[in-house]
Structures are given as C-alpha cells and as structure tokens.
C-alpha cells in the first residue's frame, strides 16, 4: 500500500531525511518512531503529497506522490501535528467541508460525516463550535477529518501529543480499531505509544532508518540479551581481561578486586549465543560465579540505544 524507496529531502544545507526505504502492506499499522527532529514530520509531509522530496520515490495506493499528487491526496487522510481545525466552525459543518474537499459525493455526505463522528466518539458534540472544545476533542475532530472520506491510507503525525492519559488511551483504542480497514502510519517520539498501537515499527534517527521490525521480533531479539550481569566471588583483573577478549563482547564493566563484585557484560548485536562461552571463560579465569543472568533491555532502552549510538557515530559529521 505504501512503498518508499531511497527517499531523501534536503533543505538548503540541512539533510532532513536520507535514503529512507520501507514498505507498508494493506491493513497494517506501522509506527514511525524517533526523537524530535528525526525527520518524521518531513517524511509524512512528503507521503501526503504536500511537499516534494529531493530524490527517491514514494507510492501510495499505487499513485506516485510526485507525479500523481491528486490521486495520492484523494486516498490519504492526514492528521498533522497541530490538527487543522477552524476554531470558528461547528464540528459537523467542518467535517462536511473536509468531506466535500475530498470529493465525497453529495448524497453520501451526511452518512460519511455521521460515521466519522461515531467512530471518533464525537456525536454528542456535533453541534458545538470547535474553538470551545477541549484539546482532546479538537484532536479527535482532526482525526475525524482524516477519516471522513474513508481513505485507504491514514497518516497520523503524533496523534496523542498533549492529551491527558484517559484521552491517550481512547485515541489509541480508536487507532487500533482502524486496523484492517485502513493502512495506518503514525509517528511518535514516545515508545509506549507505538507499542500500544502498532504491529511494526520503523525507528528513525537523524533522518536515517536505524531499525525496522515487528515489535515481537524486536523484543525477542532483546530478550536473548545484549547485556548480561554476573555476580562473582573473586573479581580478579585477569579473569575480567579474559572476558573482555572474547570475540563479540563489546564492553565489560567490573568492580575490580572486591568481594562479591558485579560484572556487566555487553555484547554486540547479532552475535548469536555467547552465554556458554562467557561462563566457560569466567570459570577458567577463577572468578567464582555466584549469579549469572541476562539484563533485560526494555524496548525503551533498545530505542535509546539505537538512537543514541547513532548520534555518537554521526557526531563527527554534523
């Protein structure tokens, strides 16, 4: 449904996104995760056909976002970071306006608006002026606007930002309910946001994709462990050095020369199973292992790791 390949956008001197490639299939909900300023909004603006990219291609529902902008715009519902609502309009007439702009035929206008109101739980405020609604409701009106023409693809830029916890849960439930009928891309810089609603995430940092996988696989990958902790009776330097020398071990942090010392071992990603080897070396090194276990990284830590390592690598260039 969404095919992006080699997408690059340069503003003057600044590269906002570089060589992004990803696909989203029909009915999927994909989270676009990254810290502020990572290029999420830029990517979304390009996908809506609002802004042209510097190079690369993107197709939405079979339409090219550069050459067939109108086709893209008809099939996309977009909720920008700030909901584009007119404060002086009544909810119902605002949605009717949005529907008409998206070529909803006259005879279907009323039913389209009713359905969008119902889906977003706005039926009881349909006659209210948008400016008098709370922020959460305005956000919902924005979402209803994106939904009103039943687009194939929904692009939601930080849909829950600035809402209270109850509203956040409501909006998340709403997005989840769209699964199947619509293909959804939503961006966020908050991880739980994405884990709560999406099946798959694309992690982006400084304009580059640093990881993309299903949430399940990302978490299992993490559960296998990238980091281990050892509690040892005799934390001697020789044994620690031996651990450090194992290929695949990234770093070893140890409290040297103390009784019952803790050793933290971090291994490189995609190293495969190293636990046997670690224990073997630890025993040979006379450390006297008391406890051994994997340090479970939450997805949050993985996200931090992915985005901060990248930052360190790019530090010299920027």
């Amino acid at each position: 449904m969404i095919e992006v390949s080699g997408l690059t956008k340069i503003y003057g001197q600044r590269t906002a996104i570089e060589n992004l490639s990803f696909n989203v299939s029909q009915g999927e909900i994909v989270g676009f995760l990254g810290p502020n300023g990572a290029g999420k909004s830029t990517t979304m603006k390009i996908l809506t056909g609002f802004m042209p990219a510097t190079s690369g291609t993107a197709k939405i529902a079979g339409f090219d976002v550069f050459d067939e902008t109108m086709g893209v715009k008809r099939n996309v519902g977009y909720l920008p970071e700030i909901p584009p609502v007119y404060f002086d309009m009544v909810v119902e007439s605002y949605l009717t306006y949005a529907a008409r702009l998206h070529f909803v035929p006259k005879v279907k206008l009323k039913s389209a608006v009713d359905r969008a109101l119902e889906k977003t739980g706005l039926t009881h405020v349909r006659k209210r002026v948008i400016g008098n609604l709370s922020k959460g409701y305005r956000q919902r009106v924005g979402l209803a606007q994106a939904l009103v023409h039943e687009p194939k693809v929904l692009i939601l830029d930080e849909p829950t930002v600035g809402l209270d916890p109850v509203q956040i849960i409501e909006i998340r439930e709403l997005i989840k309910s769209l699964k199947g009928a619509h293909t959804v891309i939503l961006s966020s810089h908050i991880l739980p946001e994405v884990t709560a609603t999406c099946e798959r995430i694309v992690v982006i940092n400084k304009g580059v994709i640093v990881a993309q996988d299903t949430i399940e696989r990302l978490t299992t990958r993490m559960k296998q462990g990238l980091a281990f902790q050892m509690l040892v009776k005799n934390s001697n330097p020789v044994g620690i050095e031996a651990l450090r020398a194992i290929p695949g071990v990234k770093s070893v942090l140890a409290e040297s020369g103390v009784q019952n010392g803790k050793i933290s071992i971090e291994i490189n990603p995609n190293q495969g199973e190293l636990r046997d080897r670690l224990l073997e070396v630890a025993m040979k090194g006379n450390l006297g292992v008391l406890e051994f276990g994997s340090e479970k990284l939450s997805l949050e830590e993985v996200f931090l790791q992915l985005t901060t390592t990248d930052q360190a690598n790019n530090g010299g260039q920027s």
Binding site: Y11, G49, P80, P84, D88, S93
Partner: protein, 258 residues
C-alpha cells in the same frame, strides 16, 4: 492540472459563511451602509435645495447624474479602498497562523482552486454590499427621472475597482501570518495605485503616460462619467489577474519551504 469548479465553490461558500460567523462582515456592511446612506441623503438634500434655488432664479436644473450619481458613487469607491483590506486580510493569513492551510494543501485541491475560491468569497461579500445599495437608484427612479446608463457604468466600475483591491489584499494575506500586517499592506498598496497619477504632474512626458495609465482612479473616472472603454476593462482585468497570479506563486512556494 485540471480545474474543478466544484472544489472552488466548496471553498468559496465556506469562506462566505465564515464572514458571517465572525463579526467582520456585520461591522463592514453596517459601517459601509451607514456612510453610504448618509452620503446619499446628503447629496439628495443638497440637490433638492439647489433645484429649488435654480427654479426660483429660472436657470438650468442640476441633473441627478451630476448632482447625486457621480458624487455618491465616487465616494463609494473611496470607501471600498478603506474597507476591502478588512475583507481580505484573514483569508490566507489566518489559515497560515492556525495551521489550517495544511488541510487544504493535503486535500485534493489545486492552488488555483484555493486562490479563486477565496477570491470569489470576497467578491460575493462585496457584491452583497453593492446589492444593498441598489436602493439608491430605486429611490431616484421612483421620485425622479435619472439616467440609468451612468448608474450601470458606476456599478461596473466600482465592482472592478473593488476586485482590484481584493486581489491585492488576497496577495498580501498569502504573504503574511499576521492579519493586521496583511491589511495594512493592502491599504498601502491600494492607496499607492489610487494616487499614483498625482506624481505624473511633476514627471517627464513618457513617465506621465505610464503613471496615469497605472492609476486606478484615472480608469474609474471614465466609468464615473458613464463611459465604458475596452482599454479600461482590460486594465482592471489584468490588474486583478496579476494579483491572483502572484498569490498563486506565493502559495505554491509553501510546498518548497521548511
């Protein structure tokens, strides 16, 4: 790219309704009618007093065209210079400030449909105001025998003049996020083109012709006298078209910016 009248109309009708959900339309219309009615009454009273005097002295009677139609409609033209900035200033500036322009920019609407839709809404508001002043010729026709030709040409001239102000205004509204700034710039530009011929008196022969040609007032004067020239029509239509074209360019450039 194809042009959809339906999309243009969707925008125009929404904008027209928006005028009436805010106080702007009411204030503008009320202010306009108050001044116009007072002016009409003033000239009417003036003409009837003079006519009485002339009749007593037995000389020629001041015609309705000279005594009422010409002064009333040229005053109306001045008033439009002052009030059209209020009509156009929010059209794009507010959408930019409130970030609602994104809705239009990501909907299947072309930039021309947007520009012409918004322009049309402003033209409809001005037309509403003009329709409300039709009571003047009706009163004149009921109690007198006015020449309806100049009435028609004055309406045509004022309509075109107002469209020129509106097209300037819509351009400045597109360039700014600040409504007040957009309004002030519109007024300044309108005033400039209104008075530009004044500079012609102290300039060389070629420049003089150019400056007089560029003056909105000089073209209106013909309509005010009851003359419709193709060249004046072409001038006004080009002026309007150019304003709308620049608006289109400004809006289109948003897509290329940060």
């Amino acid at each position: 790219m194809s042009f959809s009248f339906r999309q243009m109309w969707t925008i125009a009708s929404k904008e027209y309704k928006t005028y009436f959900t805010s106080p702007i339309a009411y204030i503008v219309i009320a202010g306009f009618l108050l001044i116009m009615n007072w002016l009409f009454f003033f000239y009417l009273d003036h003409v009837s007093a003079i006519t009485l005097q002339y009749k007593m002295s037995g000389s020629k009677v001041l015609s309705l065209t000279e005594g009422i139609i010409k002064p009333v409609y040229s005053s109306m033209n001045v008033i439009f210079l002052f009030i059209t900035p209020f009509i156009t200033m929010r059209l794009f500036a507010e959408e930019r400030k409130m970030q609602t322009l994104q809705l239009l920019m990501t909907a299947p609407v072309s930039v021309w449909e947007m520009v012409l839709g918004k322009f049309l809404s402003a033209v409809m508001l001005v037309s509403t105001m003009l329709l409300l002043t039709l009571v003047f010729p009706i009163i004149l026709a009921k109690y007198g025998n006015p020449d309806l030709g100049p009435v028609f040409t004055n309406y045509l001239g004022i309509f075109l003049m107002a469209c020129c102000y509106l097209s300037t205004g819509i351009f400045f509204s597109a360039t700014s996020e600040n409504q007040i700034a957009a309004g002030a710039m519109t007024f300044a530009a309108g005033f400039f083109f209104w008075l530009i011929h004044m500079a012609s008196q102290s300039s060389g022969p070629i420049l003089q012709v150019i400056l007089e040609y560029l003056s909105l007032t000089q073209h209106f004067n013909k309509f005010n006298m009851g003359i419709v020239n193709t060249s004046d029509l072409i001038f006004y239509l080009s002026f309007i078209g150019l304003g709308l074209f620049f608006t289109h360019r400004v809006l289109d450039s948003y897509r290329w910016r940060d």
